[in-house]
Amino acid sequence: MAMQEPAPTVYLVDDDPDLLKALARLLQSVEMKVATFASAQEFLEGYDRRSPGCLVLDLAMPGLNGLQLQQALEQEACPLPIVFLTGRGDIAATVQAMKHGATDFLTKPVDDTELLAAIDEALNTDRQRRRTSVERERTAQCLATLTERERQVLELIVAGKLNKQIATALGTVEKTIKFHRANLMRKMEVRVVADLVRRAERAGIGKAPAT
């Protein structure tokens, strides 16, 4: 089930126009799609929140600096992975950036392989994250179609109970459970139990705290 994704964009934010131009050029030389911004504000106003990609961000900038932009994106719940570029090895800033989920923290002058590797990783992260979120959405849709009984059966399956045990627990016969189970599998769009369990677990079923 391959999804048709648009090509990812690398957003470059740096107040130094010379550097911005050189970095953009480097990324273009490996056929990457690049968008450049001279300040954090410009980026916040101009980037497309739906399109996939990653952010290569200068730490020290007038106005909103790199860390502040990271926080602003966090508040917007924007999951765009960030690769920080900095002129100096500032440990405090590195720690803060990483805590808030930066993918990488590179020191200028940065070598092309290092930068491209970091961007690749960031794009991967982004792809992964997007894929996960698509799957989670689908699962939620499937779960919504289940009846109350089917949902109870699903929870007991995820808990690792056998059909007989489930029937006893729900005060019915094994055959009925088998019937529910088949419906369940169809509605959840899975063929084997292992897939069902993984999906249910990702959707948060069976992880409810014991009461």
Partner: protein, 609 residues
């Protein structure tokens, strides 16, 4: 000789002696005409005394008449001497009266020879013998009075009128001295003339039988005038003595003064030099006196010196020489040394003298140079330390172009590695690399300039340019400290004379201080750098922060060495700033802002156009 002859000869001799004394005085001081006139007065009195004595011993009436006729010559001269003595010595009396008395007396003298046997008698026909006290016998005339004898009497009246007029004028002029003269000379002359002329008139008219005795009156006048002139001589002697004392005092002061003193006349010749001058210039005092002052000025500035001397003569006031220029003097051996010269004018009858006090300031200059060198070295050290603090920021400034160069170069490599190789962007990439390289170079040049240790050289500077340059050096540091800088730079600011590095150092120091003061502030870290021309016409630069401000008690103290509010730092930064500003002839101070934070100010005099 009997007593009578002794008295007459004595009076004549005394008159002559007094006259000769004053002739000598006049000879030494030709301007004092009164002394010459007194000599004429005394000499004519002497001659008259001799004639009168001869008259009284006349053998015949004819001899008496002839002697009397000739006696009128010294008498006329005597009267004229009185008139002009009073005129010159008192500087008073109506001039027409003086001329009238002179004219009438000369007319009388002419008539004396032209009519009768003399002006007194038409004819002397007999001699009368009179026996005076202690048996002395003298002769008197018996004859017919000359009707023209009224002329000399008129002359005497005019003489009286003139002398009285002059005496009154003198009396009114006031002052004890003038009144004494009026009484002694005026009174003496009046009394004597009235007495003698009246007596002579009575005898001539035959109303009194007595010899004509004029000489005592004449002698009294001589004594009165001699006393008057003698008084002047005494006063002159006293003044000379005071002058000598004063000159001795002046010399003692001149010798005691711890600087070289030269008195120079209006032609530039040295009239006086003290012992210090000998020591300072290496010329002996004998060489210095009469030497031209220009010989003490180095050869290259002699031409200018003549011009300055002429200028000084036009406006002679007590002031320092040179109007702020550095002055040099020249020793006998030709070596030069820096001096400070104070001038004061001395106006005398012999022209304008200038008293010059010269101090050798070689030692002071040496000390000043050593101080300046130390200040520059300290400023350099502090600059290096400050650049150390800024090194992260400067590394960043270098990193930016280096990063751009690397990325550009690697992009080019990748374009070339493609098949087929892409060359369309190569030219642009190379030109960008060159541009970035230039940028890196200019950072290094700025850094090198600030680190360079060279003697401070003052040049004409645009302060706004210095401010912008400093902001470029600080740019990255400011970003890193999350500080925004706004500027308010005045247009058309006059240039200042200064050392670029040192002024930049002050600005960097001020800005870093401002940043430190705002360290605890979470938001709104702002600096405002202003330049403007203040009301005194000086160029003022200020750096305002929004930090914690400065306690009022510390506003003055923060520029003192080792006073610091920071945990690290020696507290030398601002003290060095102060020494730099002072070397630029400016000042610096701190003030607290009305809303928040403090402002540091520098003021530097504008360069004269």
């Amino acid at each position: 000789m009997n007593w009578f002859e002794i008295v007459w000869v004595g009076m004549s001799a005394a008159s002559l002696t007094l006259g000769l004394v004053h002739l000598l005085v006049w000879f030494k001081q030709r301007s004092k005409v009164a002394h010459l006139l007194f000599f004429a007065l005394a000499a004519s009195a002497t001659a008259f005394g001799v004639f009168e004595l001869a008259m009284m011993h006349s053998p015949s009436p004819a001899a008496y008449a002839t002697t009397l006729r000739w006696a009128h010559v010294p008498l006329a001269m005597f009267v004229l001497s009185i008139v002009w003595f009073v005129h010159f010595h008192f500087d008073a009396g109506r001039l027409w009266l003086a001329w009238a008395a002179t004219g009438v007396r000369l007319l009388a003298l002419t008539l004396n020879f032209a009519t009768g046997v003399n002006i007194n008698f038409s004819e002397v026909f007999a001699l009368d013998t009179l026996t005076l006290w202690s048996g002395v016998v003298v002769t008197g005339p018996i004859g017919i009075a000359n009707p023209l004898a009224i002329v000399p009497q008129l002359g005497n009246l005019l003489l009286l009128a003139f002398v009285i007029d002059a005496s009154i004028t003198l009396w009114r002029r006031g002052g004890a001295d003038a009144r004494r003269r009026a009484v002694v000379v005026g009174g003496g002359v009046v009394i004597c003339i009235v007495a003698v002329a009246g007596f002579a008139a009575l005898i001539t008219a035959g109303m009194v039988h007595a010899p004509t005795i004029v000489m005592p009156g004449v002698f009294v006048i001589v004594l009165a005038m001699g006393y008057e002139l003698g008084w002047d001589l005494i006063a002159a002697a006293q003044m000379a003595s005071r002058l000598r004392t004063s000159e001795m005092r002046f010399r003692a002061v001149v010798e005691a003064v711890p600087s070289a003193i030269l008195l120079v006349d209006d032609r530039g010749a040295i009239a006086l030099a003290n012992a210090h001058a000998e020591g300072l210039f290496g010329h002996s005092r004998a060489e210095l006196v009469t030497m031209h002052i220009d010989r003490l000025v180095p050869e290259h500035s002699r031409g200018a010196h003549a011009g300055f001397r002429a200028l000084y003569a036009m406006d002679p006031t007590t002031r320092a020489m040179g109007g702020g220029r550095e002055l040099f003097a020249c020793r006998k051996d030709g070596s030069e040394f820096p001096v400070e010269v104070a001038l004061s004018p001395l106006a005398t009858d012999d022209g304008l003298f200038v008293l010059a006090s010269v101090v050798d300031i070689s030692d002071r200059r040496k000390l000043e140079r050593a101080t300046a060198r130390q200040r520059d070295e300290l400023a350099h050290l502090s600059r290096v330390a400050m650049l150390g603090e800024l090194s992260g920021s400067l590394a960043h400034e270098l990193n930016q172009p280096l990063t751009a160069i690397l990325s550009n170069a690697q992009a080019a490599q990748r374009f070339l590695a493609q098949t087929p190789p892409r060359v369309d962007q190569l030219a642009e990439i190379l030109s960008d690399i060159v541009k970035s390289d230039h940028r890196a170079r200019s950072v290094i040049q700025r850094l090198r300039a600030m680190l360079r240790k060279e003697q401070a050289q003052h040049r004409s500077l645009d302060i706004n340019e210095v401010v912008e340059e400093s902001l470029r050096l600080m740019r990255s540091d400011l970003l890193n400290r999350d500080v925004t800088v706004s500027t308010d730079l005045a247009d058309a600011l006059p240039a200042v004379s200064g050392e670029r590095n040192q002024l930049q150092q002050i600005l960097l120091n001020f800005m870093m201080n401002g940043c430190d003061a705002m360290h605890a502030r979470e938001t709104d870290r702002r600096l405002l750098v202003r330049t403007h021309r203040n009301s005194q016409g000086h160029v003022e630069i200020s750096v305002a922060d929004r930090g914690t401000g400065i306690p009022e008690a510390d506003l003055e103290r923060i520029f003192e060495p080792f006073v610091t509010t920071k945990s690290q730092g020696l507290g030398l930064g601002l003290a060095i700033c102060r020494s730099i500003v002072e070397a630029h002839g400016g000042r610096l101070w701190a003030s607290n802002n009305a809303d928040a934070g403090a402002t540091l100010h520098i003021e530097i005099p504008a360069k004269p156009m």
